[in-house]
């Protein structure tokens, strides 16, 4: 049986969540592996959300916000953009492959783009296989 990865998607309310809704109203079919959680802005996405998702068994985490310059709150996505490399560095210390966590900009009119990103990410995470972070974190916790 093919491995079906579980991916948690954190989407900002104004652009990306609306873009995902547009994929729906346009009946654009895409992989069912991403489960979406709505936040008001990508700047709300605390790195602990990503860690929590990986800890709880997600094989990947997708973060989507408005394109740079388009943020509903002027500059929230820039905050996410700056946090992201730090988060990626931390994840790589835990041995998390880089394709498992992804930041993308999706506007309210980019339903097709959202579907393409989900399909592409699902394929990449599927190729990586199940995430080993769960056990890594558990070991780490036990050592403390």
């Amino acid at each position: 049986m093919t491995f079906e990865p579980k991916i948690v998607g954190f989407l900002c309310n104004w652009c990306s969540y609306t873009g995902a809704d547009l994929a729906g109203t346009s009946r654009i079919h895409y992989a069912a592996n991403v489960r979406i959680i709505r936040v008001m802005c990508s700047a709300r996405i605390d790195p602990t959300f990503v860690l929590k998702a990986l800890h709880d068994g997600a094989d990947g985490v997708l973060i989507c916000g408005c394109h740079p310059g388009d943020c509903h709150y002027s500059e929230g996505n820039y905050k996410m953009m700056r946090r992201y490399p730090l988060l990626k560095a931390l994840l790589s210390d835990y041995g998390i492959e880089k394709d498992r966590v992804r930041l993308e900009w999706v506007s309210a009119s980019e339903g097709q783009r959202f579907a393409d990103i989900v399909n592409d990410m699902t394929e990449r995470v599927r190729a990586l296989g199940p995430s080993s972070i769960k056990t890594a974190l558990a070991t780490d916790m036990a050592e403390r």
């Binding site: 579980k6 948690v8 309310n13 104004w14 652009c15 969540y17 609306t18 873009g19 995902a20 809704d21 547009l22 994929a23 729906g24 109203t25 346009s26 009946r27 654009i28 079919h29 895409y30 069912a32 489960r35 979406i36 959680i37 709505r38 936040v39 008001m40 802005c41 700047a43 709300r44 996405i45 605390d46 790195p47 602990t48 959300f49 929590k52 998702a53 709880d56 068994g57 997600a58 388009d70 509903h72 709150y73 002027s74 500059e75 929230g76 905050k79 946090r83 506007s107 309210a108 009119s109 579907a115």
Partner: protein, 574 residues
């Protein structure tokens, strides 16, 4: 805390959800989740009986939390919040699971979609258990308004709103009002003059004390939110630098219209090469200038009209442009009155005469001796220059569908009924006001049937052909509907906005001030005496940037708390 009693409602949405997602299995799975007291399906949860079901269950079973698994919360969250309120439960004790736009409409495999729906419902159930009661805030609604586009839709909306006492900023890119309608001679089906229709409106707009007309102008930026937008408008001032002004407006009506299809894209018609092959707009110009004649200055004896140029064709635009059939019939009348005795051939795919008075007009046009020839989609008529021996300029070869024969007809003038298409810069306009466009670039309404005037961004309305090809009555109706919607909100004076904002727990705040600089709205102030940061709730727009950044975890985002999002994460991964 009282015991949780969660009601879960799974909407079939007719067959929109139920044909892909197994709603009964979803209900069954939800009924086993902690705190769930009742789980029920219904055909249309958003309908009155659907809402009444929730209200009745709350009263009868003492439910204190509700999960509705249905469409996007961007569509019906306000509807269901109202139902909770009506039953005496805090409206924020609702959570929606988006199992339509983000599930049944995007997945084909029923089993997979059902598993996803179950997970989304579980996330909603776990989340709603951690919801807190919140009070909505009330803000002032700025009564001034921005209308973008000075065509028939924009002028109509502006006049209705201005007549009711609002101050309107009507922004038009061109140096004149009227839009595409200003390029039209008579209108179908009653052959009224477009000029008469427009002159009255234009004069009223220019003279109206409540309308500030900004020609040669474009909206450069729009910031803020419903009731409180700030629009930056740039007006071209000849050789001098643009004049830039920022105005406060409560709502925005986008009426940016359409542009005509470029006929040279269809090579079969020789547009741009054969001098007497012209577009419908070029023919309108000829009519407005008062003379129907060929480039050689002769009265055309044979006039052919070709329908669906760029429309109803997968190579260009799959949609019908809606106005061209009636306009073509109108041309038959106008040609006959300008050149008595001229022969008119009308080469069409299907005759779309759906509007009021249109079928009558079609019948009357058939009586003025117009030759109707039907061609099949994608089997373009071919136009070529006639030989010297022929008594006409061009010959058109048509594979006539009804007779099944190939017919060659003479023409001195060919009018191409060019369709409507979205303006080249539709995406920039959509971006400017934060709305969406469909695959063809038409702006997307909030609901295709029940809310064709609003958009997914509160306070932004659309009217006229920027939403889809439309004739004058439909454009006017939509513009007046947008005006009525806006006036309804202005009449309330105050605007209820989400109770969502961030709060600092002073006991946890270390006074590091990291959040102070992060806030784009300068809503965070520092109390030097207490050495604690504090959020001014009226200024907070609830983005949550400070919440994620606080190293002490001292800031909570109401309705988007860490605990609520953690619960959702656990739910979706179940």
């Amino acid at each position: 805390m009282e015991d949780l009693k969660i009601g879960v409602y799974v909407c079939n949405c007719g067959t929109n959800i139920a044909k892909v997602v197994d709603c009964d299995a979803t209900i069954e799975s939800a009924s086993r989740l902690p705190g769930v007291a009742i789980a029920r399906p219904y055909k249309y949860m958003c309908s009155n009986p659907g809402q009444e079901m929730i209200v009745a269950d709350i009263r009868e079973h003492g439910l204190n939390r509700v999960v509705v698994a249905a469409c996007s919360p961007r569509m019906h969250e306000p509807t269901f919040r109202k139902a909770l309120q009506q039953a005496g439960v805090n409206p924020y004790f609702l959570e929606m699971a988006n199992i339509r736009e983000q599930c049944s409409w995007v997945h084909e495999d029923g089993a997979v979609a059902t598993e996803k729906a179950k997970a989304l419902v579980k996330a909603a159930v776990l989340r709603v258990a951690r919801h807190e009661p919140l009070e909505r805030r009330s803000v002032d609604m700025c009564p001034d308004l921005l209308v973008i586009g000075g065509g028939i839709a924009g002028m109509t909306a502006a006049l209705d709103l201005a007549d009711a006492g609002s101050k309107i900023y009507l922004v038009e890119r061109a140096d004149h009002l009227g839009g595409n309608l200003a390029r039209v001679d008579l209108t179908a089906p009653y052959l009224d003059s477009a000029r008469d229709m427009l002159t009255d409106r234009m004069t009223r707009v220019v003279e109206h004390p409540n309308i500030s007309l900004l020609l040669n102008s474009e909206v450069e930026r729009l910031e803020g939110f419903v009731g409180n937008f700030q629009a930056t408008i740039a007006t071209k001032a000849g050789n001098a630098a643009d004049q830039v002004a920022t105005v406060d407006v409560g709502s925005v009506v986008v009426c940016t219209g359409y542009k005509e299809f470029d006929a040279s894209r269809i090579t079969h018609y020789g547009y741009g090469k054969l001098p007497n092959v012209i577009t419908s707009f070029e023919f309108e110009k000829m009519l407005r200038e008062g003379g129907v004649e060929t480039k050689e200055g002769k009265a055309p004896q044979y006039v052919a009209i070709i329908h669906c140029v760029g429309s109803r064709n997968l190579e260009f635009h799959a949609y019908c442009s809606r106005v061209c059939c009636m306009t073509a019939l109108k041309y038959a009348h106008e040609v006959k009155s300008a050149v008595p005795g001229a022969y008119v051939s009308d080469i069409y795919i299907d005759m779309h005469a759906f509007g009021k008075g249109h079928e009558d007009f079609y019948r009357r046009s058939s009586e003025v001796k117009t030759l109707f020839l039907m061609y099949a989609k994608d089997d373009y008529p071919v136009i070529r220059k006639a030989d010297a021996k022929d008594d006409c300029e061009m010959l058109i070869e048509v594979n006539e569908s009804l007779s099944g024969e190939t017919i060659e007809i003479p023409a001195d003038m060919v009018i191409l009924m060019v369709g409507m298409e979205a303006r080249d810069d539709w995406a920039e306009v959509a971006h400017l006001v934060n709305i969406s466009g469909d695959k063809d670039g038409w702006f997307i309404e909030s609901h295709p049937k029940l809310d064709p005037v609003a958009t997914t961004t509160d306070g932004i309305y659309i009217a006229g052909a920027c939403q889809a090809p439309k004739d004058i009555p439909d454009s006017v109706a939509q513009a007046r509907a947008a005006a009525a919607r806006i006036l309804g909100r202005i009449a309330k004076g105050k605007l209820e906005i989400d109770a969502v904002f961030a709060e600092v727990d002073e006991d946890k705040c270390s006074g590091c001030r990291m959040c102070n600089e992060l806030c784009p709205y300068t809503a965070i102030e520092f109390d030097a005496e207490k050495k604690r940061s504090h959020i001014i709730s009226a200024l907070c727009k609830a983005c949550g940037a400070c919440v994620a950044a606080c190293p002490s975890g001292a800031i909570a985002a109401r309705h988007f708390t860490d605990a609520q999002i953690f619960a959702e994460i656990e739910g979706v991964l179940a």
